[in-house]
Symmetry: C2
Subunit: 112 residues, 2 copies
DNA sequence: ATTATTGTTCGTAGTTTTGCGAACTACAAA
DNA sequence: TTTGTAGTTCGCAAAACTACGAACAATAAT
């Protein structure tokens, strides 16, 4: 606990779960995909991508913002959204580490 | 739409959301971490890792199983759980592709 | 001052999730 | 046959999620 452990291979489980939870809805995945590739980012553009009411879109955006995956900026009279790159990369790293943690033994079960 | 598109770079958003949702709880992340590294896998071992009632553990395991991330096998009188490696790798790939989708433009917002 | 535009917030409704104890199942041992 | 062991399922309650329309806020244009 004094030396080279905890370098940065340990993931904050709670934080990983928060990221995952934020990604746990198709609409939010769609929003993230949209923002991650293009980045035109106005609320209206995002709303147009989805078959749901603007109030609902706004809520999903709030959740993504709370999870730290996106950020919004007022550009009157519009609101510009985009990926929060810093946390995006953090999330990417967390998932990478999480899924990499796997090669110690063979599968212990035979498939059902 | 005829040729080299859709090679395998497109992710099923719904499936990705299902994986993410299953991972969207700290207890389930803990379970997955446990099963992914060690794979001793009995229900009781998993239960011991968590400060929650066995009924609750059982429910979390069911969700992970429904999402395809783990599998269980009866080994009377115990139940052996383990990662479903096939879907695990599928999930890994999905997240990889998802997070790789990002380098087209600079950030469009200044951080708040 | 009105009106339009762009989103957010509020109130509400229905569904799902989370968590627990208690009851139950399946098998093995005494 | 009764008792134990190992988990699952049931029934319930509280909380969180999803979605919507309506009302609201902030600014710009008429």
């Amino acid at each position: 606990m004094e030396n080279d452990k905890n370098k940065d291979y340990s993931v904050d489980n709670e934080q990983l779960a928060r990221f995952a939870k934020a990604m746990g809805h198709p609409a939010r995945i769609t929003i993230l995909n949209f923002l991650a590739s293009l980045d035109s980012c106005y609320f209206g553009d995002i709303h147009n991508e989805l078959p749901i009411a603007k109030a609902t879109v706004s809520q999903h955006l709030k959740e993504l913002k709370d999870a730290g995956l996106i950020q919004g900026e007022i550009e009157t009279p519009k609101v510009k959204y985009c990926i929060n790159r810093e946390n995006w990369e953090k999330a990417q790293t967390y998932f990478e580490i999480f899924f990499a943690l796997k090669k110690e033994k063979e599968n212990c079960c035979t498939a059902p």
